[in-house]
């Protein structure tokens, strides 16, 4: 006779709930690796497009995308290739630089070492040591593209090893949360800043310069070829923005990232019966609805910048709510009667 259980199997047999500190570190490990990859891509694309079009404005946009105007201009007078590249790759005092982020990756990887696969650790061990050691000799203009390619590939190797070896339990879900929240955040920043460079400025309308700018926007999100395939004739600012925000097939679009965040939170609430997911799920769902219900023209008409700004604020709230739900300060855990069993 077949046994039919009324409830789905709650958890995998033998599962122990993930230590809060591990959950937090898993999320940040994924976020930092994603951030390093995006940073490397942005620098590489900026370097290439600036060379191609012989314009200076490109480097400035890297600073604006990262909202680092204050810290950057405290240290440097002008945004040139040299200053921006130094600031974002090798400056140990800039928390957004690749050496600083590699340090954070290393710390989180050390925390997670009992949990992650040996292959993951081994790669991160070697990668972070190399990245933390990057210096002025590594970032000359002629090596910049090679360096950025290696950085991207190291991150992608990490994502591949993780996909292939990390055990699928709560840790994997927190990892996915971190990775997709970071992607959502990055794509909205790129759109917010780069959109202005797509707009025609009087006599430049439809010229070659515009096209190469548009191409570079797509490339900085690794979206160029996917976009070409989907919309071979449709290279317009609105189409580009629409693709990056709303295309469900493109893995780095805002809608794809939000869909993943939503389904991961659903698994944590369902399969793993974790409490406190409800309000966070609602917040993510609201983001998805506003995105689905508006055409890109509506969004642009109502104010792209305001919308991107709002999404980024919501993403921060989601991050905070996840922290509050799964790694609250100890005093709150006790007060909140968070004990199980």
């Amino acid at each position: 006779m077949t046994q039919v259980s009324v409830f789905p199997t709650p958890v995998l047999p033998g599962l122990r709930n993930l230590l809060s500190r591990y959950a937090e570190s898993t999320m940040w490990l994924a976020r930092y690796m994603e951030r390093i990859e995006n940073m490397a891509r942005l620098i590489e694309v900026t370097g290439t497009s600036v060379h191609a079009s012989n314009m200076d404005a490109g480097w400035d946009s890297v600073i604006r995308i990262n909202a680092d105007e204050d810290t950057f201009f405290l240290r440097h007078k002008v945004a040139t290739e040299r200053t921006v590249v130094e600031f974002y790759i090798i400056d140990p005092d800039n928390p957004d630089s690749i050496v600083s982020m590699a340090r954070c990756v290393r710390e989180n990887a050390r925390v997670l070492r009992p949990l992650i696969s040996t292959e993951m650790w081994m790669h991160l061990n070697v990668f972070t040591r190399w990245a933390m050691d990057l210096g002025p000799d590594d970032v000359g203009a002629s090596y910049l593209s090679t360096l950025c390619t290696r950085l991207k590939q190291e991150c992608q190797t990490h994502f591949g090893i993780t996909e292939g070896t990390l055990y699928r339990d709560q840790a994997w879900l927190f990892y996915l949360l971190g990775k997709n929240l970071e992607r959502a955040d990055q794509i909205t920043r790129v759109i917010d800043i780069k959109y202005h460079t797509l707009l025609p400025s009087g006599e430049g309308v439809g010229s070659d310069i515009d096209l190469s700018q548009w191409t570079s926007v797509l490339r900085s999100a690794a979206a160029y070829h996917a976009f070409r395939r989907v919309l071979p004739e449709g290279m317009t600012p609105a189409n580009i923005v629409g693709f990056l925000l709303k295309n469900d097939g493109f893995p780095r679009s805002l809608s794809s990232s939000l869909r993943c965040v939503y389904s991961v939170l659903g698994s944590l609430a369902g399969e793993y019966r974790l409490r406190h997911c409800g309000p966070i799920l609602e917040r993510v769902e609201e983001l998805r609805v506003t995105l689905a219900e508006q055409t890109v023209d509506d969004i642009i008409l109502r104010g792209l910048h305001e919308y991107m700004d709002w999404i980024q604020r919501e993403l921060r709230l989601i991050q905070n709510e996840i922290a509050g739900a799964f790694w609250p300060p100890v005093a709150l855990q006790v007060a909140g009667n968070g004990r199980t069993q």
Partner: protein, 488 residues
């Protein structure tokens, strides 16, 4: 390969090996070498020096990539160091190991009975076998432990016994490590590395495996969990990622499949210990702590400790959580108490010690003092107080004036000293910059005790890499060797 060629090659690797008048683990057994050992020796002899060096370099690179390192802190930076590893294994025969294993088990049994006694009835003190002041006045004697019953009477769940071999190959106990002995991760990782990078040396040999350590330890820790808990949650408590031995903590947590926690992950509520998880607080029953007594609980010990867990000792006293090792075990591995260990074994077990101590003269006793004074120039004299290691006299290296000065000190405060002969530690062939040379080694077997005591076959063989040095500590130029125990 013909016998002639083999012999020629053998001469190649060991040709310049200068077998000293010590017991050499591989090449001077002072007896007919056992068959298994002979085989290792012949295979090793077939390597040429360049090949051996290539393997050694590959091993070191692998250790570095794997992050099998200990951390040394300078002013600004954390530097990860690989524990130097020698690719020539140290080999023990089956009968040798049987002897060591039984000896270690006996010693652990006696240590646990001793600790129970001194925190309860104190029979051994009343019977005058060991001076009460030595135990009760010991810095590591822990008042908070008096009257506490620990599950199964086990105080020392993980024990490391430091052994050396003398000129005749006899095993002697140099020191007991009954607090938080470290180094076992190297035993397991070194074996992995040997099998991976020296497969031609090990293949087909019947070696006792070491990979049982994690499951054995986990089982023991579950066995000593508080009574009435069906599926105990075991955790490893580490000082955190900045601790020099963090790799070992990670390794053990992983081998046991348990969470590695820090003090801040644990919380005590109503005398019970919980860990903070994404699903809220979850009970913890057994803690393998790699934190010294002083740091465990700021409410009881060092109030400034941020590494510990407030209320942990209270939960422990109530029997709601097991700590491995127990608190206050340091009194059993104290230098002064060490001298009495043979008598402790006889007292509790009514057996002769299987593993003998290094011959030790207790200066608190008239005949010990007389012997020490008369033979001072041949002895090592150690103060037994809390200042362990400080104020040591090495007779053969001392001047007449120093000897005379020390005689005065001995007469003034004899109870503060023990003396031992200088031991000619055994050696093992080791890959050195100038070729394969003899270096002194020791051995630290690890014993795991739950319901019974299991000893990991082999243990950590540490090697003093500096020529002539007897100091095997990693901080002073020591390295490690894989320890092979032949199954038959």
């Amino acid at each position: 390969m013909s016998d002639m060629k083999m012999a020629a090659k053998a001469a190649g690797l060991f040709a310049t090996y200068d077998v000293p008048d010590f017991f050499c683990e591989l090449l001077n057994r002072k007896d007919i070498p056992p068959a298994g050992l002979q085989q290792v020796r012949d295979r090793l002899a077939c390597f040429d020096l360049a090949e051996l060096r290539r393997r050694a370099a590959a091993v070191e690179a692998q250790f570095y990539r794997l992050g099998i390192t200990f951390t040394v802190y300078s002013d600004r930076e954390a530097i990860d160091r690989v524990l130097p590893f020698d690719v020539i294994p140290r080999v023990l025969t089956a009968p040798e190991w049987d002897h060591v294993e039984r000896g270690v088990q006996q010693r652990v049994r006696a240590i646990n009975l001793f600790l129970h006694d001194i925190y309860h009835e104190r029979r051994i003190l009343r019977d005058g076998v060991i001076p009460a002041s030595l135990v009760l006045g010991n810095a590591n004697y822990c008042q908070a432990m008096v009257g506490i019953d620990v599950p199964g009477g086990v105080y020392v769940h993980i024990n490391g016994t430091d052994l050396v071999r003398d000129r005749d190959g006899r095993f002697l106990v140099l020191e007991d490590n009954a607090r938080t002995p470290s180094g076992v991760s190297y035993v397991l990782e070194d074996r992995q590395m040997m099998l991976r990078l020296m497969p031609d040396l090990a293949s087909g040999l019947d070696l006792r495996p070491v990979d049982e350590y994690g499951p054995r330890l986990h089982r023991a820790l579950a066995e000593v969990a508080p009574a009435g808990v069906d599926d105990p949650q075991v955790v490893l408590l580490s000082p955190g990622i900045y601790n020099a031995a963090y790799f070992e903590h990670v390794f053990l947590a992983r081998e046991m499949g348990i969470p590695l926690v820090e003090g801040r992950d644990l919380i005590v509520e109503d005398g019970r210990v919980y860990m903070c998880t994404v699903a809220g607080l979850q009970p913890v029953h057994s803690i393998y702590r790699r934190l010294n007594d002083d740091f465990l609980d700021p409410q009881v010990f060092n109030p400034d400790s941020l590494l510990g867990v407030p209320g942990l000792v209270d939960a422990y006293r109530r029997g709601n959580v097991t700590l491995a090792n127990a608190i206050g075990t340091g009194v059993a591995d104290d230098k002064a108490v060490y001298a009495y260990m043979p008598r402790i074994i006889r007292y509790y077990l009514d057996e002769e010690p299987i593993l003998t101590n290094v011959e030790t003269h207790i200066c608190a006793e008239p005949e010990g003092l007389a012997y020490t004074l008369a033979n001072l120039e041949h002895l090592v004299v150690k103060p037994v107080g809390e200042s362990g290691g400080y104020g040591l006299l090495i007779g053969p290296h001392a001047t007449q004036a120093e000897l005379e000065d020390f005689r005065g000190r001995l007469r003034a405060d004899p109870a503060n000293y023990i003396s031992q002969p200088v031991i000619s530690l055994s050696v093992s062939p080791t890959l050195c910059p100038a070729g394969v040379e003899a270096r002194h080694v020791d051995l630290r077997p690890f014993a795991v005790t739950g319901r019974d005591t299991w000893v990991l076959p082999g243990g950590l063989s540490r090697v003093a890499l500096r020529k002539g040095s007897l100091v095997v500590n990693s901080s002073q130029g020591g390295g490690a060797k894989d320890t092979w125990v032949l199954a038959s």
